[in-house]
């Protein structure tokens, strides 16, 4: 997984995609790679897990070699416009960006291309060995992954069309880009993940995704059940593993991460996930 230039981590809300993205970023950093970890929204899990405070659009180094940035669409747009137009004076650009953003509301692939385009541009530049994108949840991921293709269909002329080609090529090249789908061994995350895999396979916008099942409980081999609270704990544990087995059989994951018992700080969780990923890969 560490040999990819871009790793996109998605999953249904609440499955722990941010913690997997953080764990992967930490693992890369520990292996001496230059890592850029990107989160989508303010208050997102990634910065908490990586102890990055409140990162902005400008990548912030949180440990040697590990940078964290937050995608701010208006900033990405300004950066894009200033690179494209080489216009002096940000005040003027601000008005252009506002107009552009308004137009983009009506042609949403334009909005999404600003986000995915910024990430792909960072991949293209030689500043990072790996970019880890804590991406939008599976419900929205399709519009991001499809954005370059949508733009080609929507826009018949203009500079943005010519740029969408290399973007689509980078996303679609399995040697460069890996999609990770994080899931839980439960009904809804399993069905949503399977739908996403089906969509990815059908469209081929990215290579085959890697599926990581999170919060998987270890099976108990002892069959006896003591009296009292410990027995109750075992009964719950066994019922939970039985339920989990069912969904793991439905969608066999490539990797499983264990349930994290009793850990509290986001940093601790991310560090453990990082260790687990290292042991697994």
């Amino acid at each position: 997984m560490l040999d990819k230039r871009l790793v996109i981590v998605s999953g249904k809300g609440g499955v722990g995609k941010s913690v997997v993205a953080s764990g992967l970023a930490l693992l890369g950093q520990r292996n001496g790679l230059r890592i850029l970890a990107v989160e989508m929204e303010a208050g997102g899990g990634l910065s908490a897990h990586l102890g990055a405070g409140d990162p902005g659009f400008e990548p912030r180094e949180v440990r040697p070699g590990l940078h964290v940035m937050r995608m701010v669409r208006s900033d990405a747009l300004l950066e894009y416009l200033s690179l494209q137009l080489r216009l002096p004076g940000m005040g003027r650009l601000g008005a252009v960006a506002r107009a552009f953003d308004a137009l983009a509301t009506a042609a949403p692939a334009v909005r999404e291309i600003v986000t995915i385009g910024k990430i792909l541009w960072e991949v293209r530049e030689d500043r990072w060995d790996m970019v880890v994108f804590d991406a939008p949840p599976t419900g929205q991921i399709a519009s991001y992954l499809r954005a370059p293709a949508s733009i080609s269909e929507l826009v018949t002329t203009g500079r943005i069309r010519s740029q969408s080609k290399w973007m689509a090529d980078t996303l679609g090249n399995p040697a460069l880009t890996q999609l990770i789908l994080v899931t839980l061994p439960e009904e809804l995350p399993t069905s949503e993940t399977m739908e996403t895999i089906e969509w990815v396979t059908r469209t081929g916008v990215v290579g085959p995704p890697t599926v990581i099942a999170n919060r998987v409980l270890e099976k108990v081999s002892v069959s006896s059940t003591p009296q009292g609270a410990v027995g109750d704990m075992l009964t719950l544990h066994r019922s939970l593993t039985e339920e989990q087995e069912r969904w793991l059989a439905e969608l066999p994951p490539d990797l499983t991460l264990p349930y994290m018992f009793g850990l509290f700080t986001p940093g601790e969780v991310a560090a453990h996930i990082s260790d687990e990923l290292e042991a697994l890969t």
Partner: protein
């Protein structure tokens, strides 16, 4: 007067199951209750007595006073805008590629459609209680801001941004040479796209009055509703719950309670496994004990730091999927402020 409860919370915390349990409990007490849910698990949908749950409320086969409806997650504000457009414009809009794209991708679209449908049920005055399981998209809070966002989108704001001045006539966009800003956008996006978007926006704007009026009605319904925040003790959902808890008073009301789901028996916190137990069992017991401590800490922190009323719902290995299971879950729940919730 119909009472409304909006159940908010991050995805994956068991919000839908809890909403269903709440509805079952209310119906058992003789309150005519409609539970409105988004995309329930198949097993839960069947527990609500719905063979094929749709956006029309259906009475439950077995439990009197209980109705259920499932919001169409594919429905969007597109239908709403069409409703407010005159026939000629509606025909043009229906064929417009941007309309299709925008209605699929407008971030608040699903929330808006859900809020609109929920408000319709509340206004119908058929039920004493309407429980709305809010969609998790966009962080949940956009359920409340969607009507205003929708009006903004349809209204003049976009056009004013594009033109930098008062609303133009249809010809404005053809006169691009006079506007350097548009020339720049032109270079990047291509002139054809710009023109098509601007025509679309001018059409869309004609629906503004209707959409804005409906938006204000929806907002009134939402503001008068009671709210609940559902979470588990995991750090990420708790973080979301804190956000909801602090933002909800601005857009609706102070949450009646923060409901912690998947709660372990508090007595497990002090369990010390017998040293004679097999090592494996001892380890598992220690893990669940540590988990119980962590859960209690999370609840304690929420109530002491934010002054929230905390309710608990026990952990079930398999989420309840029938009436008896849902009723049992509510019987074992603690601290739910029924007095503030039921009409």
């Amino acid at each position: 007067m119909t009472r409304t409860i909006l159940v908010t919370g991050a995805g994956g915390v068991g919000k839908t199951t809890f909403s269903a349990g709440l509805a079952v409990q209310a119906a058992r007490e003789g309150v005519r209750t409609l539970v409105v849910t988004v995309d329930p698990a198949r097993r839960l949908a069947s527990a609500l007595g719905a063979h094929d749950l749709g956006d029309e409320p259906q009475p439950h086969d077995e439990l009197e006073h209980l109705w259920a409806a499932m919001l169409d997650s594919q429905a969007s504000w597109r239908a709403v805008a069409m409703r407010h457009a005159d026939p000629e414009v509606a025909t043009r809009l229906a064929d417009n590629e941007f309309f299709r794209a925008a209605s699929e991708h407008f971030p608040a679209s699903q929330s808006y459609a859900a809020a609109d449908q929920a408000a319709t049920f509340v206004q119908a005055r058929v039920w004493d209680l309407v429980i709305v399981d809010t969609p998790p998209s966009g962080g949940g809070i956009d359920f409340f801001t969607a009507p205003a966002q929708m009006a903004d989108l349809v209204g003049g704001r976009l056009l004013r941004w594009i033109t930098g001045g008062p609303l133009p006539g249809r010809r404005f966009f053809y006169d691009r040479a006079a506007r350097p800003m548009l020339r720049i956008a032109d270079t990047i996006l291509g002139s054809d796209l710009l023109q098509r978007i601007s025509e679309f926006l001018l059409d869309l704007r004609t629906t503004y009055d209707g959409v804005a009026r409906r938006g204000r009605e929806i907002e009134t319904v939402l503001r008068e509703a009671a709210t609940l925040v559902v979470t588990t003790a995991d750090p990420a959902p708790v973080g979301e719950a804190v956000r909801f808890y602090r933002q909800l008073p601005e857009v609706a009301s102070t949450p009646a309670a923060v409901v912690f789901n998947r709660v372990l028996p508090t007595a497990w916190a002090t369990v010390r496994p017998d040293p004679d137990l097999p090592v494996e069992l001892g380890r598992i017991a220690e893990q669940w004990s540590a988990e119980t401590v962590r859960q209690a800490d999370a609840r304690e922190e929420f109530s002491s730091r934010y002054g929230a009323r905390v309710a608990t719902v026990p952990w079930r290995a398999v989420p309840p999927t029938n009436l008896a299971g849902l009723a049992g879950l509510m019987d074992d729940a603690e601290g739910i402020p029924w007095g503030d919730l039921l009409p």
